[in-house]
Symmetry: C2
Subunit: 327 residues, 2 copies
């Protein structure tokens, strides 16, 4: 483990000159610079990250807070995390991961945020969760001058990366209409507005009446909703999520309804499971890696004290339709 001091000795200069030569800043005589760089290379020098961070007062590590929501670990999350990590590493930074720390802290009566801030991370990426008050959290992090970014918050006053859910659904419904489907229904909870709004807007543009089966919240209730759906005599259905879409598929199977012959089904999320169902599910894909990369880019910029772009830091990413056999 070579140190600057070792390079200095080999190159016959002071440690300060080594620093300058390696950073390429200030005045260093060409010959000296060559000698230093050569010594560094032959000694296989790598800066000691901890020492650097201690000195500069800034860790190079971004912390990711992943809520272990009911112990269900999400392949959508890991793709985002991977996207972040790649981007951070390219910028010389690294990624630390924490799970379900909020709920644990609440049980223990401690305050998570203080602990996280105390670790002086280069940035904080937070997965929105019902147990984490986004706005209040964002304000405290701003105050502590810790760069942060949320994934998929609904709150509009925090910096976040999200997908254009409305736009995705709108495109999907238009695409179904373009393929000749006349009665396009929607199955899913109606308290999440963005997806439902996309559906309503698209139908309005098309001049059609909405056909909505509200209330489904999981695989089982979606399965049970199949008869209610078919009572509307639809020839296509946009579902709130892949999980619900797969539940609906099960219900349709049981009723003897053939997919896509009798009805086309479109999901939302592009989970791994969507490619494994019978039939494989056409669905709206989140570009999770891109989302992670975007989040990382925001944190990198913030940590370099760059000024926010005119529209603010938040980014909205487009979704795309993955066409499989259910349509």
């Amino acid at each position: 483990m070579t140190r600057l001091k070792d390079i200095a000795e080999v190159a016959g200069v002071s440690i300060r000159t080594v620093g300058r030569a390696l950073k390429g800043e200030g005045y260093v005589e060409a010959g000296v610079r060559e000698r230093v760089l050569g010594a560094a290379r032959s000694l296989d020098y790598r800066p000691h990250r901890l020492a650097r961070s201690l000195r500069t007062g800034r860790s190079q590590e971004v912390l990711v807070l992943a809520g272990g929501i009911g112990g269900q670990y999400d392949e959508l999350h890991i793709a985002k995390i991977a996207g972040m990590e790649r981007t951070l590493r390219a910028a010389g930074m690294s990624l630390g991961l924490l799970f379900g720390i909020e709920s644990e802290a609440r049980r223990a009566g401690r305050d998570v945020l203080d602990e996280l801030i105390a670790r002086r991370p280069a940035g904080l990426a937070l997965f929105a969760s019902p147990t984490l008050p986004a706005t209040a959290t964002a304000r405290r992090l701003d105050q502590a001058r810790v760069p942060y970014v949320f994934f998929d918050t609904r709150e509009s006053d925090v910096d976040t990366v999200r997908h254009d859910r409305s736009g995705g659904i709108r495109e999907s419904v238009r695409w179904l209409a373009g393929r000749g489907h006349q009665r396009i229904a929607y199955v899913g909870p109606t308290d999440e507005r963005s997806r439902l709004d996309g559906y309503l807007e698209a139908l309005k543009t098309l001049g059609r009446e909405p056909l909505i089966v509200p209330g489904s919240a999981d695989w089982e209730t979606a399965r049970a909703a199949a008869p209610a759906l078919m009572a509307l005599k639809p020839d296509a259905v946009q579902v709130y999520s892949d999980i619900l879409a797969l539940g609906l598929l099960a219900g349709l199977h049981e009723m003897g309804v053939r997919v896509p012959k009798d009805i086309a089904v479109v999901g939302f999320d592009d989970r791994f499971a969507a490619s494994l169902s019978y039939p494989p599910l056409t669905t709206l894909q989140q570009s999770n890696e891109a989302m992670g990369a975007a989040a990382a880019a925001i944190l990198i910029a913030k940590s370099r004290d760059e000024v926010a772009p005119p529209g603010g830091w938040s980014r909205t990413l487009p979704m795309s339709l993955v066409i499989r056999a259910s349509t």
Copy 2:
């Protein structure tokens, strides 16, 4: 951000005494100890991890190397990582995550392992991948005195946590037989011995002839294998993985074969998708969080220079059957 120095000033003692009092080591007068602890609490002291690591020469961070295998991120991986992180955090350590660094380094002609070792991690957890030579890697890490553990290596001479795949399949086949199934088949690649061996052993114990449909490697080929399977007239089938089992379900649907009425289907892995299929899939569950916790425990012990238990560090975890509607 209070430092030891701040506590020392408030408590009116030297910084050294503060250190002793907080660690509870050496001789500190009871009254002084109380004063120091009180000051630490009221100042909300938290040790500076970086400074500590710099001084002790050991980082408290375990690095996890997750191969981004073809860009497919795995919910099985993230559960393991979550299990690790929880255990590490309880031991005062943390977790850093790196993706697909091997393939990137190979492209760039650099050596990953040296870079990782240069970061002086408290430990290294590696997901086995075809591109990472486990034995050679383990030897180099041993030499560099970096604690390591693999997930699911086939190599027997490296420290690893794995699941008892043979045992899991054996139990599953016995369970099927116990439920009255007479002709229990196996679908999957035959070059992975552990699962196939479990099947063969169980059938041998039962005194029955094996019914094997070899060769399937993905959803599509498993789907195509349905007719070949049914030609064997089985009344139950153990499949190599959930992915293949779901492909097989699709093929059986297309043939009009009813599951579980005509044939019972058992998968392997307990992916999220297994709970979302029609019918939901009975499958062998890996205890991924437990696996992560076991890996973390090994790294913690190694990093404390504990001596390996008689059988070595490696651990084999049992699998369990999750019974759903496909049986």
